[in-house]
């Protein structure tokens, strides 16, 4: 037996102790770097989580990054208005410099600070809801805005899928408040999803990340230094740090005939009809009894899916400071409905408002009398519509601030 056969390559050139020491030290250093990064704001010139810094381009902001961003931007002595919800409140179709939240800020004045955490495709409790809950400890005078969206779907406390990661990220890191009914619902969901491998994997990842901070570190590096994740939107320049990308929303200037293309007309009218059906058959419908849980489950405690969704999504103290604008769709499509369908569509808003207000949430109907030009497509408001929404929301927010005792005695603005 030769000397080389006795001592293979790795034994001749590598020292095992040094190798393992290097692995442990560098892995530990990465965890520490992730922890440090998560407690520092990495976002510059933040207006909203635009395409290049949201999940559309595989950029997943973490719960701690959002908290650090808010801490860097917001003054705890001011009344903080956190905007969550879907692409409608995100401002799809509005340029950053003409974004409705900027208009809202100027209307509310210096006593208030508005921050836009709405996300395309997010449902009422998703992302922004968890973000507002995280911030409520640091900002006691907080008002949260979220919209149930055109689909008026009612997800579970952790959302419907795309933004579930954010809830479990915040939950695993202990950033959410304890709410017994929500805990019970999460326990039910754990049983219902016991065969769901993706859900089990998500929870494991988030539990690991709460100790190892790998998502915080590499997301920060993607934003500040160099990105490593390819997606169709970033193409060949995928290594460019995300902080160098500008907000790409360019739909604002489309002429009316391009906002409402004839080829998509039928599908959009059907989508409006779908909203009526969905609300009647799902969101506002009584919850059927669970076949195995009988009266022990959460089903019997709530009158509708929407009520259960909002009550479990927002612990009791958050409800009275959560304002829900119920936004209409463009009259371009609503006016194409038959008269009985239009009546049903218009009746949807008071019915939804009734459920939400019974559950303790202030609501406001937006867009019933808006012209076609106030929309940039079926559901999204144009810059003109966004400005009108801000004008309608500002007095309501001031009224809420007054009612919640956020303003000094006798101060109404």
């Amino acid at each position: 037996v030769t000397e080389q056969q006795k001592n293979p390559f790795y034994e001749r050139y590598l020292a095992p102790y040094a190798l393992f020491l290097g692995i442990i030290l560098s892995f530990g250093a990465c965890c520490v770097a992730g922890y440090v990064a998560s407690h520092r704001n990495c976002f510059t010139d933040f207006e909203r989580f635009h395409y290049y810094i949201n999940i559309g381009s595989l950029f997943y902001p973490t719960a701690l990054q959002v908290r650090s961003l808010a801490k860097a931007r917001l003054d705890p002595d001011k009344i903080v208005v956190v905007v969550g919800g879907s692409s409608i409140l995100y401002g799809t179709g509005q340029r950053p410099e003409h974004l409705w939240t900027r208009k809202l800020q100027s209307l509310l004045g210096d006593r208030y600070q508005v921050i836009n955490f709405a996300m395309p495709g997010a449902h009422l409790t998703e992302f922004g809801g968890a973000a507002a809950e995280i911030l409520s400890c640091d900002y006691p005078r907080l008002i949260f805005l979220t919209d149930p969206g055109p689909a008026c779907t009612s997800p579970d406390p952790d959302g419907l899928g795309r933004y579930q990661y954010f809830f479990w990220d915040a939950y695993s890191k202990g950033l959410l408040t304890h709410d017994q009914p929500r805990e019970e619902r999460l326990a039910e969901l754990a049983v219902d999803r016991s065969n769901n491998d993706k859900f089990a994997e998500l929870k494991t990842q988030m539990r690991l990340d709460s100790c190892l901070y790998f998502r915080d570190l590499w997301t920060t590096i993607s934003y500040r230094r160099a990105a490593t994740v390819w997606s169709p939107g970033v193409g060949s320049s995928f290594t460019k740090a995300r902080q160098h990308y500008r907000d790409p929303d360019v739909n604002y200037s489309l002429p009316l005939d391009m906002r409402y293309p004839a080829s998509d007309n039928d599908i959009n009218v059907e989508a409006v009809r779908g909203r009526i059906q969905n609300s009647r058959k799902y969101a506002l419908r009584p919850i059927p009894r669970h076949t195995t849980r009988d009266d022990r489950g959460s089903e019997g405690r709530y009158t509708s899916f929407l009520e259960r969704s909002v009550k479990l999504g927002f612990p009791e103290p958050f409800r009275k400071r959560t304002l829900m604008p119920l936004t209409h769709e463009s009259p371009y499509y609503v006016d194409q409905l038959a008269s009985h369908e239009k009546a049903a569509y218009n009746a949807l808003f008071p019915a939804t408002a009734h459920v939400l207000e019974q559950a303790g949430f202030p609501t406001i109907e937006i867009g019933r009398d808006y012209p076609v030009s106030a929309f940039c497509d079926r559901g999204h408001l144009s810059e003109e519509g966004g400005a009108r929404m801000a004008e309608e929301l500002a007095p309501k927010i001031r009224e809420m601030a007054q009612r919640l005792g956020y303003l000094p005695e006798g101060g109404s603005r």
């Binding site: 290097g22 560098s26 990842q205």
Partner: protein
């Protein structure tokens, strides 16, 4: 020679540790991005 062997092993270990941390991050991302549609 022993020092070089230690240094090479240590640097390789550092690289593996870094890679392992990065792999955990990549595993937390979905394979396909979410494409937002208005209808």
């Amino acid at each position: 020679m022993r020092m070089v062997r230690f240094l090479v092993s240590f640097l390789l270990g550092c690289l593996i540790g870094l890679l392992f941390h990065y792999v955990l991050y990549r595993m937390s991302l979905p394979v396909e991005p979410f494409i937002y549609m208005t209808f």
